[in-house]
């Protein structure tokens, strides 16, 4: 679990600094970490807040970013026996990292899954608080290039997912499409369009494969 925490801490701090830079208050920055608890969509949301995007665009982008959790849930739900109430709790705290650890360590029980989830939740929220306090005292975060953390973080999340040629192709098409659309469309719309088109392309190109 230790390497996971190591990854979460700088990401959490970077998120909170970006959030403060985008004009969110300390309470708002922390609230997203406590209630939404989804690193990538929190970072994208504060980026969109900063550019003055509308709330519905932010919520749609969040949906698109988090719909992958359906897959994690399907996989985890088959391996671990849980009561209805346990499913509610496990679902609230589910993340990429908690899923990854639970699968890698062959988790069969709810307490194991919850332990992995809660340790990440605690780390993420402490890192958020640290970053939010730090973000309040850095005079001009943009000048030192804090906004560059945003594309960098998503690139670092993307690269390990590229296992096959079709994965790379989908990433290139979606990236190019988003770049083109972002020149004329506002906020989260280019991400939404490129995300749906890219995923459809991938699903069509892998027709006949069993996943």
């Amino acid at each position: 679990m230790t390497p996971l925490w190591l990854g979460v801490i700088p990401f959490g701090i970077a998120y909170a600094v970006l959030a403060r830079d985008a004009g969110l208050s300390l309470v708002e920055t922390q609230a997203l970490s406590l209630l939404v608890f989804a690193g990538s969509s929190q970072v994208s949301a504060v980026g969109l807040f900063g550019r003055g995007a509308g709330g519905s665009g932010i919520v749609f982008t969040t949906l698109l970013l988090n719909v992958r959790h359906v897959l994690y849930g399907l996989s985890l739900g088959r391996r671990v026996q849980m009561t209805r109430r346990e499913r509610l709790v496990a679902a609230f705290f589910l993340t990429d990292e908690a899923y990854g650890v639970s699968i890698a360590r062959g988790a069969r029980s709810f307490p194991f899954v919850l332990g992995a989830e809660l340790s990440l939740y605690l780390t993420w929220n402490v890192a958020t608080l640290g970053g939010a306090l730090l973000g309040g005292v850095i005079p001009d975060p943009e000048r030192i290039g804090v906004d560059f953390v945003f594309p960098l973080a998503f690139l670092a999340l993307l690269v390990p997912l590229l296992r096959r040629r079709v994965d790379v192709l989908v990433a290139i098409v979606a990236g190019a499409l988003a770049w083109l659309l972002a020149r004329s469309l506002p906020g989260g719309l280019p991400i939404l369009c490129a995300g749906v088109v890219g995923s459809l392309l991938g699903a069509l190109l892998t027709k006949g494969e069993q996943r």
Partner: protein, 98 residues
């Protein structure tokens, strides 16, 4: 939409996605399983490109630094290492003259 309404919407769609998989008993059709596999790939890529260049006319430096960060991500598979290497490359390249 206010911040808190947006936050409530984000909670709803995030928790909804997480709960859907855990409580769904029926198998999804293969096409949609494959679609879901490609969603993070397409969305992460779509989040990178529009903000890669930045707004301060440092596009070249940022693209090179991002490539170095991507290489670090590929070699180490560690988010923290990739961000640290990419930011270090960015700051170093900025110091270069011209």
């Amino acid at each position: 939409m206010s911040f808190w309404a947006t936050c409530a919407g984000m909670v709803a769609v995030t928790f909804g996605s997480r709960l859907a998989g855990l409580t769904l008993h029926r198998e999804l059709p293969p096409f949609w399983l494959r679609f879901l596999h490609f969603v993070p790939i397409a969305v992460f890529a779509a989040l990178v490109t529009p903000s890669l260049g930045g707004s301060r006319g440092e596009g070249g430096i940022r693209v090179v630094a991002a490539a170095i960060g991507a290489l670090a991500a590929w070699r180490t598979r560690q988010l923290a290492v990739a961000i640290a290497v990419g930011m270090a490359a960015f700051w170093l390249l900025r110091l270069l003259p011209g």
